[in-house]
Amino acid sequence: MKTSFILSAAIAIRDTILNNESTLESLDRAIGDGDHYINMKRGAGAIVDMQAELESLSPDAALNKIGLKLLSTIGGASGPLLASFFMGMAKVLKDNGDESVPTYAAAFAAGVDLIRQRGKADIGEKTMLDVLIPVANQFKALATANANVKEICNALIDTAEQGMLATKGLIATKGRAAGLGERAIGHIDPGAKSCQLMIMTVCQQRLYSEN
């Protein structure tokens, strides 16, 4: 992975967020406090704004810096969680180099693991983890099975989408929607949606660069 890929992915993510304003906003209005879109937009914008600063860094250093930036920019629940993700990823890349698919998978999993620890949450609690954990698991499995980039990307896009949709049927036991009990059922979790969108965007980006 090159830092330039991170930078173009960041731009693509920012655009995806902006294009999904009403979706993200209405999901968080329904079972949260309505600020998830604004939070994500602020975070994504801040990363795009640091392009110059990131360019010259190694991918792990860039990801770490992205994590720190998100930590001081987003706030709310999603801020520290997404920050943890990038910092967890950065650490694995730093320790293991950044050139093999299994390393990427391990890095992704490490990022998700830090979210898990920070949020004291797990799969099935109607959070972003319902997207991230299945994706991390599948990424690892496909990397181990030596799947090619195209297979991996397509699979992760699907898995993210399924995880996101699955949150619809769940009662929340973490985050702001946890107060809602049964009333949360029928609504997709906003954090799950934004993570699904980001995964989709990065995978598509990777697929394009493949062609």
């Binding site: 406090d33 604004i38 939070n39 987003i74 706030g75 920070r118 036991t173 809602l180 009333r183």
Partner: protein, 340 residues
């Protein structure tokens, strides 16, 4: 959405600047990262720092000053502040006796303050001790091992007042933490919304509600509550709130004896006139009396708001001599002031 604002991105800083100017005798404002401290940093005491999303004014900056907070970190509207704000604030207040964070129990606030607390020892090379009181007085959310738990709402003001008072006496960090936890556990709140609030950046109401509905157990960010109900007369609404509070305090075995003294806080969410808040007070007082609870202290007004939401919350804090003493002690902040 009609609001007195200019550019949406400037709302927070313009409002904070206005606050700091209007209370320049009491507070100093730092921008980027955003935090406020007392004008005169207090020394030789545990520093009490709170913070949270904006839109709940006067919470928290309105409670900075003698007898209450040393600093407050405002996030964007309804979004918890970020760790760099807490670290910067902590670095500026006198921290020799340690820092107590008072944090409303929301995933975002908890995590951001937690990270700040973890980073604190490394922030300026000094071994700054810190601890955290999580407020969780909202009994609309039934606690369970499966959830992150109850939300912190208007009871936070009472925690901040009492802990702030104790800290002023020179009490140490564990004592402040213990009092904060005690006040929190003896407190229960529940809110009712008659209208939604509108987050400026969203530009439209967080939820839709018809003219014949109310939201029972609403959160201070417009989070949905226990259930959507039919609008009815104040006495009936207040009765349900009082019952919820009594049930909560009994279930948690906080309310055990037959008679008890308490502080009753009727809190407006921002768009409810004082006239209605006092009417609510009138009914709540009678109903609590019927439950053997003597209202020994009262507070009625907008103390923990939800932007422009029409609605109110009822908070009951069971008093003992210690809490009463710290509630009564002098306080001098923008929003709460007595005794000096």
């Amino acid at each position: 959405m009609k609001k007195f604002i200019n550019k949406i991105d400037d709302v927070l800083v313009e409002s904070l600047s206005g606050f700091a100017s209007a209370h320049s005798d009491l507070v100093s404002l730092n921008l980027n990262p955003n935090f406020l401290t007392r004008k005169k940093i207090a020394t030789n005491k545990v520093a009490i720092i709170s913070g949270g999303g904006s839109g709940h004014e006067p919470l928290h900056a309105g409670y900075i000053g003698y007898g209450m907070l040393d600093a407050a970190c405002p996030g964007y509207v309804f979004t918890s502040p970020t760790p760099d704000q807490m670290l910067a604030a902590a670095t500026l207040v006198h921290a020799d006796n340690g820092i107590l964070f008072i944090v409303k129990n929301y995933a975002g606030d908890v995590m951001n303050f937690e990270i700040a607390a973890e980073m604190l020892p490394f922030a300026n090379g000094l071994p700054i001790k810190s601890d955290t009181v999580l407020t969780s007085d909202d009994c609309a959310v039934v606690n369970s091992t499966y959830t992150t738990g109850r939300r912190g709402v208007a009871g936070t003001v009472i925690v901040e007042k009492c802990v702030g008072s104790l800290a002023e006496t020179g009490a140490d960090l564990p004592a402040c933490k213990a009092l904060g936890d005690k006040v929190n556990s003896q407190t229960a709140s529940i809110g009712v919304a008659l209208t939604s609030c509108t987050v400026p950046a969203a530009g439209r109401p967080t939820f839709d509600m018809s003219d014949t509905e109310l939201e029972m157990g609403v959160g201070i960010h417009g989070e949905p509550g226990r259930r959507r109900e039919t609008m009815r007369e104040a006495d009936a609404i207040v009765r349900d709130c009082v019952e919820a509070i009594i049930t909560d305090l009994k279930t948690r075995a906080i309310l055990t004896s037959n008679t008890h003294e308490a502080l009753l806080l009727i809190n407006g969410f921002g768009a409810t006139p004082l006239m209605e808040l006092y009417l609510i007070y009138n009914t709540a007082l009678k109903l609590f009396n019927q439950h053997g609870i003597k209202i020994a202290r009262s507070l009625v007004g907008n103390y923990t708001t939800a932007l422009d939401m029409a609605g109110a919350s009822i908070t009951l804090c069971l008093l003992d001599d210690e809490i009463k003493q710290h509630w009564d002690s002098p306080v001098h902040t923008a929003a709460l002031r007595w005794g000096r």
